[in-house]
């Protein structure tokens, strides 16, 4: 399943993230994970949120430069070697990762690893054939610390 990452272009200066989080907070949009990559004077903020389409709308309305990007959110075991299983598979298949980040579920049994790859659909198929579960937006937003994700 395909998940969506919301990317925001911003100048590298104080208050930029605060502006972003104030909009999302007011709109009661929940952030699941974030990463920021910077290049000197500017950067890109990547977010996994519970309602990416609405986040795109409200952030655009707030004057931000936003792009919705499809990514794969892969469920992995939260134990040594858990991420390695996934990485070995992608490596064997020659799939390049442009950006990746993960977050641990509080159950401490599973973790979610978000990968941004060139061939999203092909990779999704590959992952499912090899027994990995990918989460869509709905699944991502329903992940609660106490809930077990199937």
């Amino acid at each position: 399943m395909i998940a969506y990452q919301i990317s925001i272009f911003a100048e590298n200066k104080p208050g930029k993230i605060a502006h972003l989080t104030s909009v999302l907070g007011k709109e009661k949009i929940n952030i699941r994970a974030t990463t920021i990559s910077t290049a000197d004077t500017f950067g890109v903020i990547n977010l996994i949120v519970d309602d990416p389409k609405r986040a795109e709308t409200v952030l655009t309305q707030a004057g931000l430069t936003v792009h919705l990007r499809s990514v794969l959110a892969v469920l992995i075991d939260d134990k040594p070697g858990g991420l390695d299983n996934l990485m070995q598979l992608l490596y064997q298949e020659g799939i390049n990762i442009n950006n990746a980040y993960g977050f641990v579920l509080e159950s401490s049994k599973k973790a979610v690893f978000v990968v941004d790859v060139d061939q999203t659909e092909k990779t999704e198929k590959l992952l499912e054939e090899n027994g990995f579960q990918t989460l869509d937006t709905q699944a991502l937003s329903s992940i609660e610390p106490t809930h077990n994700v199937k």
């Binding site: 290049a39 004077t41 500017f42 890109v44 990547n46 430069t65 936003v66 792009h67 990007r69 442009n98």
Partner: protein
């Protein structure tokens, strides 16, 4: 103390008679050019329209745009075979203006520069290090020829390469330099780095500061650092290049050589002449040029005539150091830049908006330019690599156009404030 005493101290009345005769000759010469020939016919004017110097006002102004529109040969007033040299105001494509010289033009120009340099105390025994760009830019070759005319030993060092400049200065015991003021300040930091004290360890006693406007405070600072006398120089390629006006030992205004140029100061808005002492735009008519004589050329440089007689004995009037421009041209490290050049380049790149901001800064005596550019909303695909590529592309494109490398900052769409009417495109933070 004078290079040509009879010319430099000429009686004002005689000077004006000379100018009147030269003006008539100049108009006769310009008539042979495509541009002026046509213009005189349309307006029904000719050398006969001139009875007094004030009659120059019957002739229209000539602007840089006129030169561009009739690029490259529309203003030449002699057969092409007579031309021996071309120069260009700046090396940029498209908007460059070219000027042409005959052998006589080069000789007269060299003599004017010899006159300027001799006036400050430079002699045949001096070693002259010319730290200016050679090539299309007039500053390098102009001074080079003038110094040779005096008979000095010339080191054609060219611009940049600070350590080699210092080495040359030490090895050949340079006594006179020609340098861009911002570069003189930058070079002082290299002296410090090398633990060489320019006041004690070099023999330089005279510096000519040119190619960019600077303040009195900056000149005094340069003199303080180096322990030499620094003289202000004014010129523009359309009037030969350097050697149009120059400071005498009084260091109080630049004598503008009125045997070669007819000077007017006008109000840039009403275009009416202003009285001596009042600030306005400098307008010049060449009185001796053959290859490409120009009438009432609008320099866009703002200055004023300093009233009164100079104690040095020269009767040619003085202009004050240039206060600014009546157009939006910027000068950075001696390079002329129009914001329009940047706008044009950015318009060719679809991935950015045309709203941009130029910021000029000075740090550690080094001038720099930052161009803030708004990214096109549609271009952004959440990818930082793509933005880096875009930034590199813009930097390269602007470097190709401006010949200096700006720092490019990508900013969010609509983040640069749009000015009322004409957008504010330039912030100049350069202080003394």
């Amino acid at each position: 103390m004078y290079w040509e005493k009879n010319v430099e101290t000429i009686d004002r009345k005689k000077l004006e008679e000379l100018q009147l005769a030269q003006l008539k000759d100049t108009i006769k010469r310009t008539e042979k050019s495509y541009y002026y020939g046509k213009l005189f016919q349309e307006k029904n004017i000719s050398a006969n329209s001139i009875k007094s110097l004030e009659d120059i006002q019957k002739f229209p102004f000539t602007t840089k745009d006129d030169l561009r529109e009739h690029w490259p040969y529309g203003f030449i007033a002699v057969p092409k075979d007579e031309l021996v040299r071309m120069h260009s105001s700046s090396g940029t494509t498209g908007r460059a203006t070219v000027v042409f010289h005959t052998a006589s033009d080069i000789a007269i120009w060299s003599n004017l520069l010899a006159r300027c340099m001799f006036m400050t105390g430079m002699r045949k025994s001096d070693v002259f290090q010319n730290m200016m760009t050679y090539g299309l830019f007039t500053g390098g070759l102009g001074f080079h020829y003038g110094a040779e005319k005096i008979g000095a030993l010339v080191i054609p060092a060219g611009a940049g390469n600070s350590k080699r400049q210092i080495q040359l200065m030490m090895d050949f015991e340079t006594t006179v330099v020609h340098v861009i003021p911002s570069y003189a300040l930058h070079l002082s930091t290299v002296f410090t780095e090398l633990k060489i004290d320019p006041r004690k360890d070099t023999k330089v006693k005279i510096a000519f500061l040119g190619a960019e406007p600077h303040t009195e405070k900056m000149r005094r600072k340069i003199e303080e650092i180096y322990g030499y006398k620094a003289f202000n120089s004014y010129g523009l390629s359309e009037m030969n290049g350097p050697g149009v006006a120059f400071e005498c030992p009084q260091q109080n205004g630049m004598h503008i050589w009125e045997d070669s140029f007819l000077v007017e100061i006008i109000d840039p808005k009403t275009l009416a002449p202003v009285a001596d002492g009042e600030e306005g735009e400098l307008v010049m008519t060449s009185l001796q040029k053959e290859g490409m004589p120009l009438l009432r050329y609008r320099t866009k440089d703002l200055t004023r005539i300093i009233p009164g007689i100079c104690p040095c004995g020269r009767t040619h009037r003085r202009i004050e150091r240039i206060k600014g421009r009546s157009d939006d041209m910027l000068i950075l490290k001696g390079v002329n830049i129009f914001p329009m050049q940047i706008e044009k380049k950015l318009m060719e790149i679809a991935d950015v908006g045309t709203n941009f901001l130029i910021i000029l800064d000075r740090a550690d005596f080094n001038d720099s330019m930052t161009v803030k550019v708004e990214v096109n909303k549609k271009y952004f695909a959440g990818d930082i690599k793509q933005l880096e590529i875009l930034r590199k592309k813009i930097t390269e494109e602007l470097k190709g156009e401006l010949l200096i490398t700006p720092k490019v900052d990508l900013v969010e769409p609509d983040s640069i404030p749009k000015g009322e009417g004409k957008a504010v495109r330039v912030i100049d933070n350069r202080k003394d």
